[in-house]
């Protein structure tokens, strides 16, 4: 994105986390839109099958989190990890058989979510070397956090959230002659779709989108079943500058970081990247507006040997 930023003034911090297990309780089942009980994987741990560019829906899954789900064991340190980590930040595995594997943050979902370019096909076993398919619960990772505080001096009405400066630089668009910020998006989302996550901080978790329950009733659909993991989307009438709320005339740009949900009122979720008055933006509909185009292959500056050197 061709836009002036304060990226040179941002600090980079080395943060630690570990791959956190899926969590359940002894009652096992949760409840779907029509009261159907379900027990489905997808949240927590390492999910192998789904990556940026893949469909977000259409899986036997709930709260599908692509790749690795990461937390810190200490509650205060965990909130810092969740708040300071930005989409596009580098993640490096530092323990276990996949040590050395390097991936990128694709979003937040009460876990930091990291996708890796070098996952082998699902079901091929434990993986070897830097193959991220060898990741599992408890493996330690290092996150190179940079991006909170990123600002666009030529667009003072637009607030940037959770966005690595290198990701912003890799995105198409930028400052237009008319002064607006051009942003490419793969989908536009109506205000009716905003589900769980409304009212929460925009630096934590994400905003579930309803109306994307592939295979369920037509009366539940808002036409969002075609979303893909990593898609940039525009949320209509959403103001995420200081939290997440409905505000007519505002616009929020997010990246779809989670997928299929069976739980009602939930669904594929965008992590917030940009928010401001709609008049400050010029949206370009572009099906290629997806993290897969910008994070994989890895940019040269993300070479593991250079990444964590202070």
């Amino acid at each position: 994105m061709k836009v002036t930023t304060n990226a040179a003034r941002l600090v980079r911090q080395v943060l630690a986390g570990e791959i956190w297990p899926p969590l359940a309780d002894r009652h096992a089942y949760r409840v779907g839109p029509d009261g159907q009980p379900f027990l489905l994987p997808g949240m927590g741990g390492v999910t192998l099958d789904v990556h940026c560019g893949d469909p977000a829906t259409g899986y036997a899954s709930d709260h599908l989190e692509p790749g690795a789900s990461i937390r810190h064991r200490d509650p205060g340190a965990n909130m810092a990890l969740q708040f300071l980590t930005c989409v596009g930040n580098q993640v490096r595995v530092v323990s276990g058989p996949a040590a050395g594997a390097t991936g990128h943050v694709i979003g937040q979902h009460a876990y930091v979510l990291a996708d890796f370019a070098d996952f082998t096909d699902a079901g091929t076993g434990t993986g070897t070397g830097t193959d991220a398919a060898g990741l599992t619960t408890g493996d330690a990772v290092t996150v190179l956090a940079v991006g909170q505080g990123l600002a666009l001096p030529d667009h003072p009405r637009v607030v940037v959230k959770n966005c690595d400066p290198d990701l912003l630089a890799a995105m198409p668009g930028g400052t237009r002659p008319d002064g607006r910020l051009e942003v490419h998006v793969a989908a536009r989302v109506p205000a009716e779709a905003i589900g769980a996550g409304a009212g929460m901080a925009s630096e934590y978790a994400n905003t579930d989108l309803m109306g994307a329950y592939a295979g369920l009733g037509a009366d539940l659909s808002l036409g969002l079943e075609g979303l893909r993991i990593g898609d940039l989307v525009a949320l209509a009438d959403a103001d995420h500058r200081y939290g997440r709320g409905y505000r007519p005339g505002y616009l929020t740009i997010g990246v779809i970081s989670t997928g299929q949900c069976m739980m009602f009122g939930h669904g594929p979720g965008p992590s917030t990247l940009l928010s401001g008055p709609a008049s400050a933006f010029c949206l370009v509909d572009d099906l290629d507006a997806n993290l897969a185009a910008w994070l994989h292959p890895q940019p040269a500056e993300y070479a593991p040997d250079q990444a964590v050197v202070p």
Binding site: G35, G195, G199, D219, Y242
Partner: protein
């Protein structure tokens, strides 16, 4: 509120009544006194939980510069699981009785509930409320979950509603044995709001959470839709295209009716909150919005004066 009667049944099953223990909760803040409002301004949240004096059923949800203020006292249980049970089983209209402290013996009524960790909102006569203190124990006579009035259309769900409260609310239940054409529930509400205004609470279990409506305070000079501006505590309000049978979520053609249980909030994604009571397809749950004439739940009807 009333002894079990012949209609006080869950289909063919009789309701059970459970005495629950709650304690009046103290407001709680984390290390910072500030929250950030929808315009990015820090504010100190007053009125979010605990005992709020001077706010009554019938007052506007915008009457006070407060955050989620409820008309009465919020009750919790110190054990997290028992606290969720208190919030899940308590029903609007359940009688409560203060057991300890200066207000011991005072009678109150459950007005609603709030989500997250779970809170029950209990209303009292103003003189009794003023004698309450955080930590006072309150017994809740919980009854209503599982209730299905005879004749209720099968696609309509009722929740968190004490059967004895129905005569005090503008809810018309179909007569048992009514034909399919006439077997609809009719409800008078202050206003119907579109589902895109549904904020915090969406995606959460309706029987144990409230749903915040993203209504900012009226602008200077009372700007904005008068019907939205005049919503009062205790009003019934409908939300279109919202299914609240289990978790709350978007479903085209449905409607959910709730009772307004707390006032506005400066937080983005928050606002006046309803405790859902009825949900169903719009054809079976017929809502009549009466912005000027609507009368919801009142302190007079509850004998809380």
């Amino acid at each position: 509120m009333t002894p079990a009667g012949p209609g006080d049944q869950a289909g063919p099953l009789r309701l059970v009544t459970v005495n629950l223990l709650g304690a009046v909760v103290h407001p709680a803040l984390d290390g910072s006194p500030y929250r950030i409002d929808r315009d990015g301004r820090p504010y100190v949240p007053a009125g979010d939980g605990g005992i709020v004096l001077g706010l009554e059923l019938g007052d506007s949800v915008f009457a006070l510069d407060a955050d989620h203020a409820a008309p009465g006292a919020c009750l919790v249980h110190p054990d997290p699981a028992a606290r969720h049970a208190l919030a899940a089983y308590a029903c609007v209209g359940n009688e409560v009785r203060v057991r300890t402290g200066a207000a011991a013996g005072a009678r109150g009524v459950v007005l609603g509930k709030r989500g997250e960790e779970g809170r029950v909102i209990a209303g009292f006569a103003p003189a009794d409320l003023a004698r309450l203190r955080p930590g006072d124990e309150v017994s809740v006579r919980a009854r209503g979950q599982g209730w299905r009035p005879p004749g209720l259309p099968p696609e309509v769900a009722v929740m968190s509603l004490d059967p004895g409260l129905v005569p005090m609310l503008p809810i018309g239940l179909p007569a048992p044995g009514a034909s399919a054409q006439t077997a609809a529930v009719t409800v008078s509400v202050r206003v119907t709001v579109p589902s895109k205004l549904a904020g915090n609470g969406i995606g959460r279990p309706a029987a144990a959470w409230d749903l915040d409506l993203q209504l900012p305070p009226p602008g200077p000079g009372g700007a904005g839709d008068p019907a939205l501006r005049d919503i009062a505590l205790g009003d019934l309000v409908a939300v279109s295209d919202l299914d609240a049978r289990y978790n709350m979520g978007y479903r085209r053609g449905w409607v959910t009716v709730g009772i307004v249980v707390h006032g506005a909030s400066p937080l983005p994604g928050h606002g006046p909150g309803i405790t859902p009571l009825l949900t169903g397809p719009a054809a079976a749950l017929q809502v009549n919005a009466d912005a000027a004439g609507h009368v919801g739940l009142t302190a007079t009807a509850l004998r809380l004066q």
